[in-house]
């Protein structure tokens, strides 16, 4: 095991609240119906390839796209397509979704079988077909990340096990329950990427995970587990790369540009699983927690399961839920309805009661500079806030709004409770709109 000495500037100390760390993953029953949206990744939405009335099986492709930055979508149940509906995604877009009534038999589609491949290109194609997207919460199609770049040499594979968001233990449980899979996934990816330096980053508040993987990694001198300081947002790609390698990804650039590929532990593990079984991405481990939840748990959920069913499986609510968040409390997205489905990159579902979910009231900025100190990207959130509120395009550019990774550190520390990230997000949207108008 190595210990990272570097730490990015800024960031915040957030309460861990990893209540479910010791909760072994329990498998949820097949829901009555699933709703599977045709966009569950960063990139182009998929086209439906089934229609109302079709009989589908587990693992069957139901959505594909010809676009490169995209990932196919599979049915997570066997049953009948009962409806094509529209759901609103987190950016407020209407997305086609398939509603499938499950028959409970979970019959597996004939296309699902252990894949055979004889070269890298075939493996890459398989990974694309598996529907894998970044399982850490960002949802970037994995095959795009792994595709060889002519002009860029990759020399380090980083496996992200930092899991710096409060509450979430989905990655932690994967490490503890499935460590071998992670190592075999790493071996597959090392081959594919032609790298012989793998760094697994885990925060120091998860000693058991560090231990488990260190013991396994000791069999290879190419794989090293690195203990990281627990500091939010340690798991953010750019911060993690810096903590592990000292390399800084320039604004607007990708990890590839500094010779690094970053994969979440669950994604790595999935690759190994998929190569063994051929079962595409149809299920997820989801941490269910929050002050309003009866039994905080780690649940294996079929993608498309309505959020309400998942909560019900965890004993329902203690108190009436006031806010439902998909993801962590720092970067997760509030959900408008319990009918919304679990997605490929859902790693947590949190239910807050009124007391914990209520937003504090904004008061005037006192220029304390705490947001400046907290920003891991070295931005000046207070000025971005002002310029965003006034729709000042030049100001937003001057203060580098587009470099904001929306980590929420600034809003978290602000004593005046200003909604900094929210305004910066709107500011970024303004900038995008403006640049689109220009071209």
């Amino acid at each position: 095991m190595l210990i990272s000495k570097k730490i990015f500037g800024g960031g915040v100390t957030v309460p861990h609240r990893k209540n479910t760390a010791q909760c072994e993953t329990v498998k949820m029953d097949v829901p009555e119906k699933v709703v599977i949206p045709m966009l569950q990744h960063v990139g182009a939405p998929c086209q439906l390839v089934v229609k109302k009335g079709d009989i589908v099986r587990v693992g069957q492709v139901i959505g594909i796209s010809s676009k490169y930055v995209s990932a196919p979508i599979h049915s997570s149940v066997s049953g009948t397509v009962t409806n094509i509906v529209q759901v609103i995604n987190s950016s407020g877009m209407y997305i086609d979704a398939v509603e499938i009534k499950a028959d409970g038999k979970q019959e597996i589609h004939e296309s699902v079988k252990p894949p055979v491949y004889s070269n890298d290109a075939e493996l890459l194609e398989l990974i694309k077909e598996s529907g894998l997207v970044g399982l850490g919460g960002a949802g970037f199609p994995t095959h795009v990340k792994l595709a060889p770049q002519v002009d860029k040499k990759i020399d380090i594979l980083i496996v992200n096990g930092a899991e710096c968001e409060p509450y979430i233990t989905a990655d932690y449980r994967e490490i503890v329950e499935n460590s071998w899979n992670i190592i075999s996934g790493i071996n597959i990816l090392m081959d594919l990427l032609k790298v012989d330096n793998v760094l697994i980053g885990i925060e120091d508040n998860k000693p058991e995970a560090i231990k488990v993987l260190t013991d396994l990694a000791n069999t290879s001198d190419k794989i090293n587990v690195v203990k990281l300081k627990s500091r939010y947002p340690q798991g953010a790609e750019k911060m993690l790369i810096y903590s592990l390698t000292g390399r800084k990804v320039p604004p607007g650039k990708l990890p590839l540009d500094v010779g690094v590929v970053v994969m979440n532990v669950n994604s790595v593990s999935f690759v190994a699983e998929y190569v063994k079984t051929g079962m595409p991405l149809i299920k997820k481990r989801v941490t269910v927690d929050g002050p309003a939840v009866m039994n905080p748990s780690n649940v294996e959920v079929l993608i498309g399961t309505p959020l309400g069913d998942v909560f019900e499986f965890c004993g329902g609510f203690k108190t009436e839920p006031y806010k439902i968040i998909m993801g962590g409390p720092m970067m997760g997205v509030a959900q408008p309805s319990l009918q919304n489905p679990v997605l490929k990159y859902t790693n947590a579902l949190l239910a807050f009661d009124r007391e914990s979910g209520e937003l504090p009231k904004e008061s005037p900025c006192i220029r304390c500079g705490k947001c400046v100190k907290a920003c891991p990207m070295n931005l000046l959130p207070l000025f971005l806030n002002l310029n965003a509120i006034h729709g000042n395009i030049d100001g937003l550019k001057k203060y580098n709004a587009m470099d904001c990774i929306e980590c929420g550190s600034c809003s978290y520390v602000c004593p005046a409770k200003r909604h900094l990230v929210h305004s910066i997000r709107l500011g970024k949207a303004l900038l995008k709109k403006e640049s689109m108008n220009k071209t």
Partner: protein, 321 residues
């Protein structure tokens, strides 16, 4: 039930810090200085502090009412201004002048420029300077600490004007006296120890960062050492940083959020500027106390400093910087 779910932007949890808590911390940090003021200058100091605090809070309330703004006296920032103002006044100040000072600080310097976070000059210092220009007599009427029949005399800073510090026969207070609080000066300037205690509390509570106080005191020490003596590098720098308002200024006045830069780099520039200007005024201007003016001068430069210290984005070339 489903349609009552709250939708809001992340982050969904917030830290515990509040504006009010920060201001209360500042008040707590000022307690030792107030107590030492009372101890050395008598119970009259209690009246001065009460008057300035009340005058500030009432002014804030009244001006916000008139300007139809939200009433924010519960954030305690007016209380902070009140206490700071008191500490910047001479112990013998007529109470009505203290009250006028509170009104000036809040109404003219704070609220007329938009309220908390928007004023470009430290309200307490601004008021001090205006009072100084309006009632110079009263504002420079220093009394000796702990002397029953208070004798008017000059601030100890008079002893450290360049070249005069070797004047024989004058009873110059020594370092220990400054430290404990036997020197003449405004209410809050008398005990360095009390100020350091409060400053340490602010640092511990992370209300302030060390950037401004350290660079302020450090540069003042360096400059007075270089230029403060009859020959270069012979200045009595310890005397300089212990006497007068440097400690009060460095920990409590120059660190005022609204009127100091937001980045560490900017804060260091601010601190160094304050230190140098303080010493220049002390050594070369026909006016003994440079701290207030140096801070106010730097206050005016803060927008500029902020503009030229925009940091580089992590990993990038960015702009500014």
């Amino acid at each position: 039930m489903n349609n009552t779910l709250l939708l809001s932007s992340s982050p969904h949890i917030r830290g515990r810090d509040t504006t009010q808590r920060i201001m209360i911390d500042v008040v707590i940090a000022l307690v030792p200085a107030v107590i030492s003021g009372i101890y050395f200058f008598g119970s009259r100091v209690i009246m001065v502090v009460l008057i300035t605090v009340i005058s500030c809070v009432i002014s804030e309330y009244a001006s916000q009412k008139i300007m139809k703004r939200n009433i924010t006296i519960s954030d305690f920032s007016a209380v902070v201004t009140g206490v700071l103002l008191a500490l910047n006044l001479p112990p013998a100040i007529p109470l009505w002048i203290a009250a006028v000072g509170g009104i000036i600080a809040i109404v003219i310097i704070k609220q007329m420029f938009g309220g908390i976070g928007q004023n470009f000059m430290n309200p307490a210092l601004g008021a001090r300077v205006i009072l100084m220009l309006s009632w110079t007599q009263h504002m420079t009427n220093w009394i000796n600490p702990k002397v029953p029949d208070a004798v008017s005399s000059a601030t100890p800073l008079i002893y450290i004007k360049k070249g005069q510090e070797i004047m024989e026969g004058i009873n110059r207070p020594d370092y220990i006296e400054f430290l404990l609080g036997h020197a003449m000066g405004s209410i809050g300037e008398t005990s360095v120890l009390a100020l350091l205690l409060g400053g340490a509390y602010l640092l511990y509570r992370k209300v302030i960062s060390p950037a401004i106080p350290f660079s302020f005191i450090g540069s003042a020490a360096l400059f007075s050492w270089i230029f403060g003596g009859n020959r270069p590098f012979t200045g009595d720098f310890l005397y300089h940083i212990l006497a007068g308002g440097i400690m009060l200024g460095a920990f409590f006045m120059a660190t005022d959020y609204s009127t100091s830069p937001v980045t560490t780099k900017g804060k260091i520039i601010m601190g160094i500027g304050c230190g140098i200007i303080t010493i220049i005024i002390r050594l070369y201007a026909n006016y003994p106390e440079g701290v207030s003016f140096s801070i106010i001068l730097m206050n005016l430069l803060v927008p500029l400093i902020d503009k030229y210290t925009v940091p580089r984005t992590f990993g990038g070339e960015g702009r500014g910087g």
